[in-house]
C-alpha cells in the first residue's frame, strides 16, 4: 500500500477536492462577478465599465421596491398555505401510513415528475375564465358575474403554493417520522389530552422539519417568476420577473445584478431572523 495508505488523513480532502473545486469555480466565483457587475455603469451598446456605481442599488430599490415587497409577501403567504396543507398530510402519512408510506410519499412528490412549466400551464387551464372552477364559483356567487380567477394575485399565490408544496411536505414527513411514538404515549399516560400531547411533544419534536420545510419553500418562492408570468398580469409582477426581463430582454446587467443581490440579502435577513425566532421558541418549550 502506497502513499494513500501512509497519508490517510489526506483521503477526505482528496474526495472533496473535485466537487468543492467545481462549486468554488461555478458557484462562488460567479457570485463575485455578479457583485462586480452590479457596480458597473454604462450601456449595452458601448459596454459596461466598473465604476463603484452604488447608485445602481438606490435606483433599483427605488424603482422596484413594490415588486420586491410583493415577492416577499407572496412567498410568505404561499409558505404558510403550503405548511397548513402539508403538515396534516405529512402527519397522516407518518402516523397512519402503515405499509403504504412509500407509495403515499411517491404521490406527494408526483408533481415533480411533471415539468414545472407544464404543471403551471395546467393551473392556467384549471383556473381559466371558462373553466369549471371559475364557473362553479360564479354559480354559487362567491365570484361575481365577470369575476376572474386567472390573472389575479390569488392565482399566482396558489400556483406558487402548489409548485413548492413537496419541498414543505418532505422535510415535515422526515421529522414527524422520527418522532418517538413512546414519548407521545408517555405524555398521554401522564394525563395529557391528545391536543396537549401534540402541542407539547409531537409539534416541538417536528420543528427541525418545520424549519427546513419553510426554508425550502420560501427561498425558491421569493425568487420565482414563472407563476407570476403564466398565472398573473404585470400587476402581479414579482422581483424575479424584473430581474429576468432586465437581464435577458433589456440587457441592463448592472441593475439586474444589483436586484439579484438585494433579493439574496433580503432572503438571508429573513432566514436569520426566522431561525433566531424558531430557535428561542424551541428553547422555551
Amino acid at each position: 500500500m502506497g502513499f494513500l495508505h501512509r497519508h490517510r488523513w489526506l483521503t477526505p480532502y482528496g474526495l472533496l477536492a473535485a466537487g468543492l473545486g467545481w462549486l468554488a469555480v461555478f458557484f462562488v466565483v460567479p457570485m463575485y462577478y455578479l457583485a462586480a457587475t452590479s457596480l458597473k455603469s454604462g450601456d449595452i451598446d458601448f459596454g459596461y465599465a466598473f465604476t463603484w456605481a452604488w447608485g445602481n442599488y438606490a435606483h433599483a430599490l427605488g424603482r422596484y421596491q413594490e415588486q420586491l415587497l410583493r415577492s416577499l409577501e407572496y412567498a410568505g403567504i404561499a409558505t404558510l398555505a403550503a405548511f397548513l396543507i402539508s403538515y396534516p398530510l405529512a402527519y397522516w402519512i407518518a402516523f397512519r401510513g402503515g405499509r403504504w408510506k412509500n407509495v403515499l410519499l411517491l404521490l406527494v412528490i408526483a408533481p415533480f415528475f411533471v415539468t414545472y412549466l407544464i404543471r403551471t400551464l395546467a393551473w392556467q387551464t384549471i383556473l381559466a375564465d371558462d373553466g369549471p372552477v371559475a364557473g362553479f364559483l360564479r354559480t354559487i356567487g362567491v365570484l361575481g358575474a365577470d369575476g376572474r380567477l386567472l390573472a389575479t394575485s390569488f392565482a399566482v399565490v396558489a400556483g406558487i403554493t402548489y409548485n413548492f408544496l413537496p419541498f414543505m411536505a418532505l422535510p415535515l414527513y422526515a421529522s414527524l417520522e422520527q418522532v418517538d411514538k413512546r414519548l407521545v404515549e408517555a405524555a398521554e399516560d401522564l394525563y395529557a389530552s391528545r391536543p396537549v400531547a401534540f402541542f407539547k411533544v409531537t409539534f416541538p419534536l417536528s420543528l427541525p422539519g418545520v424549519f427546513a420545510g419553510t426554508m425550502l419553500t420560501f427561498i425558491p418562492a421569493a425568487g420565482d417568476f414563472i407563476n407570476a408570468q403564466l398565472l398573473g398580469t404585470p400587476q402581479q409582477a414579482m422581483i424575479g420577473n424584473v430581474i429576468q426581463s432586465r437581464f435577458l430582454v433589456l440587457n441592463d446587467y448592472p441593475e439586474a445584478s444589483a436586484l439579484s443581490l438585494v433579493l439574496m440579502l433580503a432572503i438571508v435577513g429573513i432566514v436569520v431572523v426566522y431561525a433566531r425566532a424558531l430557535g428561542t421558541e424551541r428553547l422555551g418549550t
Binding site: 468543492l20 411517491l106 392556467q124 417568476f225 439579484s260
Partner: protein, 276 residues
C-alpha cells in the same frame, strides 16, 4: 362521547389528507387528460373532444423533438457528472472526521439556499465577463452546479448507517483500497447513488430558470414549452409531459421495489460482498 370525538377526528384527518393528495394530483390529471384533447385553434385550454392523434404523432410539432433530445443529452451528462462529484463529497463528509468538515457541510447547503434566479444570473455574469459563448456546455455546467448539493444530500442520507468495519475487514484480507472501494464500498452505497442519478437527471430535465439564463441559442424541452406558451401550447407538449411523468414514476417504483428486496436480503448480501 370521547369515542365519537376520536372517531370524527380520526376520519377528519384522513379526509383532509386525501383532499391534499387530490390537490397535488389534480394538475397531473389535467395534463394527461388534455393530451387527448382535440383543440380547434391554437389554444389547448378548453376540452373540445377526445382524440388519439396527439399520441400517435407526439413529435409532429416542429422543434419539439430536437428540444427533448437536447434535454435528454444534457440530463445524462449532468447526472453522471453531478453524481460522481457529489458522491465523493458525501463519502468524505460521512466517513471521515477532518478539520473543516462543519464548514464543508454549510458550504454544500449554500447552493440549495440560493434562489435559482440568482444562481442563473451569477453564472451568466461569469460567462459574460470571460466572454464565454453560452450554449449546450454552459447549460451542462450550470446544471451540474445546482445538482451537486442534492446528490450529496441524497447519498449522505443512505450513508449514515454505513458500517466502516466492512471496509477494514476487506483491507485486513489483503484487498487494496481500490478493490475495497469497488467490491465493498460501492455495492453498499449503490442504492443511494442510483437515487442520486435519478434525482439529478430529473432536476436537470425539469430546469427552466437557470437554463433560461445560460442557454444562448440552445433550446431545451422546458425552453420550448416556454416559447410555445406565448403562442399556444400544442397538445403534443402534454403528450411528452405525460410520457416523462409515467417514465419517472415507473423508475421510482422500480427503485422502491429494488430497495425493499435488499432490506430482507441485506445480511447475506453484505456477507457475500465481504467474502468475495
Amino acid at each position: 362521547m370521547t369515542a365519537v370525538v376520536r372517531f370524527a377526528r380520526h376520519h377528519l384527518l384522513t379526509a383532509y389528507a386525501l383532499l391534499a393528495l387530490a390537490y397535488l394530483l389534480l394538475p397531473i390529471a389535467v395534463v394527461v387528460l388534455f393530451s387527448f384533447n382535440n383543440p380547434n385553434g391554437r389554444f389547448n385550454y378548453t376540452w373540445q373532444g377526445f382524440t388519439l392523434k396527439n399520441w400517435g404523432d407526439p413529435f409532429g410539432v416542429p422543434g419539439l423533438w430536437p428540444a427533448l433530445q437536447t434535454s435528454l443529452e444534457i440530463a445524462a451528462l449532468v447526472a453522471l457528472g453531478a453524481t460522481a462529484l457529489g458522491t465523493l463529497i458525501a463519502l468524505a463528509l460521512v466517513r471521515y472526521g477532518f478539520r473543516g468538515r462543519g464548514a464543508a457541510n454549510i458550504f454544500i447547503f449554500l447552493p440549495m439556499a440560493t434562489p435559482e434566479i440568482v444562481m442563473g444570473a451569477s453564472l451568466l455574469s461569469l460567462f459574460l465577463a470571460i466572454n464565454f459563448q453560452t450554449g449546450f456546455w454552459t447549460i451542462v455546467i450550470a446544471h451540474i452546479t445546482f445538482d451537486i448539493s442534492y446528490v450529496v444530500t441524497t447519498v449522505r442520507a443512505r450513508l449514515v448507517g454505513f458500517d466502516r468495519h466492512l471496509e477494514e475487514a476487506a483491507m485486513d484480507l489483503y484487498a487494496n483500497s481500490w478493490t475495497t472501494f469497488w467490491r465493498v464500498t460501492l455495492p453498499l452505497i449503490a442504492p443511494g447513488v442510483l437515487s442520486a442519478l435519478l434525482l439529478s437527471f430529473a432536476l436537470s430535465i425539469d430546469d427552466f430558470v437557470i437554463t433560461n439564463f445560460n442557454s444562448g441559442t440552445e433550446v431545451t424541452f422546458p425552453l420550448f414549452v416556454w416559447g410555445a406558451a406565448r403562442v399556444g401550447v400544442p397538445p403534443q407538449v402534454n403528450v411528452v409531459g405525460s410520457i416523462i411523468f409515467f417514465a419517472a414514476i415507473g423508475l421510482m417504483l422500480l427503485n422502491v421495489v429494488r430497495q425493499r428486496r435488499p432490506q430482507r436480503a441485506a445480511a447475506p448480501a453484505t456477507a457475500t460482498a465481504t467474502v468475495s
